[in-house]
Subunit: 429 residues, 2 copies
């Protein structure tokens, strides 16, 4: 893995960070590295996430999905319970993974009508076993399977905590199950059964994903100048201090689109606290050059742009053409074009004084995505320590959960009253 | 359509706008409305976009797709040439629309292998007829069809300008074609053949989309207090002046996900200029409550959150359950749950002093999406005038295009040399 922050240096952009500042920052990185290592060692809450590649037993996951050989895997989960699975399945190029990660009636109805339910494996994921969206969807899925004459207890696997309604359900119906690892918040759980189970069920090489994670673990050293993950976390932090309050995160690979969503959750929920934290704005290269690049170059000077790509890809030749204006394309390849656009965008941001960082993996494969997930988690944890926020909690989402539950008659919550008292100022036509 | 900015008022949030300020702003809105009306009347560059619902001839589009009756429509286009078509097809719930809007070799290969090429309609869209990504993909598609024994000249429709390589190709092979309307930048062209053709080919009611656009046109009046589109544009502008430099745009409907992408292009490319403009951060409700909400409530105080929903949906009941902790869900519906989450999130943002605006359409159908597209375009144009930026151009993307072309051997461009001179500061492992 390569992190190149040349275009984020003060010598290159007015909003950049100087080598001197990075040297000073590196002293804090060394101390934080010790803190992180101790947390990993003791499996402290949150820090335990970085122990996952070693702590995850791929055999347990393989056992849970043994004998299914499904045409499709339907993950019923939301947030950290689905984004890791989406990311890994897509990065491995596995077709047949679907997520019910919303409670949109039209979408749920359509997806259940389209899936071959008799050969679908339902993968229900909720640590508490009480997540409203997930459990509501799971009840709907059970009914759809009943109606299709499929015994859902024969086609369901559960990943949940040691206790709670889902665990009880698994026990009652003798469902295969995996455990959400202790001390690991959902958004940090990709390298456990939470992220790996669908890939395993679809024949993916989850051992190599874990190997990639282990390589990421190996690469953590006490200096940002030697550890790609810390280099990214430290430079992103330094740029936020210098005004880059938005992190536009742009992978140049369609199969990394879910990874950008996963990153957006990781960054937002871990760092968006106490009035601090970068706002992740996810995009996709080269597509969004035709959508967001104008803003990145000429809009507000408040962004870090992170460009991510695999160094090698399987390629596709562009046929020769006798159209004169296009002859420069013929004989090249889509990969050449994509790489030229990556490098041109990077240089064009630099020329417009916009700091940017390049992240590269060797190839987009099982090892590559494992390394990438691990490195971004470590970068985020370092960043949170530098920022002095509580990286592993998400207190601000509780208010809305109580309000929604109150509105649905699930108890008496004062937050629900606030909803009724909304100030309305409507312009309607 | 309803725009409710109660939660953006200074009485509700410290970063809000007062009724007094809005009264003063409304005088500018009235003058700008006259400017916009004159621009529409004269079909001036850019303003001509708001004349589209009347200027678009649905018969011309129907004629271009007559006789195809395809199982799939493959739009080959990027940015404004694909996002409108994606938005309208999804909002109409039409299955079978695919876009090649990137030059990712793996993705292109997989999509072409999965499509039934003999019953696919290829829809190539490029105003200039020279867009590198689009034309490269089109050459690849031609070859794939040749290899599958399908005559691409019998399965291709073209939407392009009056001149250029695509127009010549259409003439040479007698391909059905539509014209990109004059004076309309790509990101404002959804209500023309550019956005409507795939829906027409898949049996969608494009006349009602245009009716919705016409209703949006009717609703433009000289006051922000009477026109929902202007209310949104003016309030969003006022909030940017007060620190809301990010616009988190969150539809609560899966079928509006492409609409959020379309909005992100509209906002970024039109307003991201001269160091100004809100950065659009697209998200999806309720899913991203489990991802971004922590940041929206407790991160930097630099956001407007825009919540979008249809007032009515076809719904799906949640079956009763004997699991005690979940009994409050049973007997309700997914739609109830989604609406409760919408309102809870809105109230939770207000309680955390974060300004937010609610946008509602009656239903997510052809008319609803037409109205929504038109209103957001009008809102954007008003906003651009208030901000004094050049709404209809995108000068900052040209640098990168020249650099990429130079790198690919398509001419001698000094921008390509800058790419070679990149400052490298790598941390690799």
């Amino acid at each position: 893995m390569n992190v190149d922050f040349g275009n984020a240096l003060a010598t290159e952009t007015n909003r950049g960070v100087s080598e001197d500042s990075l040297e000073r920052l590196d002293e804090r990185v060394a101390r934080i590295h010790e803190r992180i290592e101790a947390g990993i060692e003791d499996r402290e809450f949150g820090y335990a996430s970085l122990a996952l590649p070693a702590d995850t037993d791929p055999e347990e996951i393989r056992e849970a999905v043994a004998g299914f050989d499904p045409d499709a895997v339907l993950t019923v989960g939301i947030g950290g319970s689905s984004l890791g699975a989406d990311t890994i399945s897509a990065a491995l190029g596995l077709e047949g993974h679907y997520s019910l990660d919303n409670v949109d009636p039209a979408h749920t109805k359509r997806l259940l009508a389209d899936l071959p339910l008799e050969s679908t494996l339902v993968n229900v994921v909720s640590k508490s076993g009480t997540t409203a969206e997930t459990l509501a969807n799971f009840l709907v899925v059970q009914e759809a399977m009943d109606e299709a004459g499929v015994d859902w207890t024969e086609r369901t696997v559960v990943t949940t905590g040691e206790e709670g309604p889902l665990r009880e359900l698994a026990d009652e119906h003798d469902l295969p199950s995996c455990s959400v690892p202790d001390g690991v918040p959902g958004r940090f759980s990709a390298l456990s059964a939470v992220g790996l189970l669908p890939a395993a069920a679809l024949g993916g090489d989850i051992e190599s994903v874990l190997d990639g994670g282990a390589a990421g673990r190996e690469a953590l050293t006490p200096s940002l100048f030697e550890s790609p993950a810390y280099a990214y976390g430290a430079v992103a932090y330094a740029l936020e201090q210098r005004g880059a309050t938005t992190n536009a995160f742009v992978p140049y690979a369609e199969d990394l689109e879910p990874f950008a969503e996963w990153f957006a959750q990781l960054w937002a929920e871990s760092l968006g606290k106490d009035g601090l934290g970068q706002t992740p704005a996810r995009a996709l290269g080269a597509t969004d050059q035709h959508s967001q690049l104008q803003l990145y170059r000429a809009g507000r000077a408040d962004k870090l742009v992170t460009l991510v790509r695999p160094r090698e890809r399987s390629d596709l030749a562009i046929p020769e053409t006798d159209i004169k204006e296009l002859s420069y394309l013929g004989g090249g390849s889509l990969g050449d074009l994509l790489d030229a656009e990556f490098e041109a965008t990077e240089a064009s941001l630099a020329a417009a004084d916009q700091p940017n960082v390049r992240i590269e993996i060797d190839r987009l494969d099982a090892e590559g995505v494992g390394e990438l997930l691990y490195a971004m988690e470590a970068a985020c944890i370092l960043y949170g320590e530098l920022l002095d926020v509580s990286t592993f909690t998400q207190p601000a989402v509780e208010w809305g959960k109580r309000a929604a539950r109150g509105l649905l008659g699930g108890g008496d919550f004062e937050e629900a009253d606030a909803v009724e008292d909304k100030t309305v100022r409507s312009v309607e036509k």
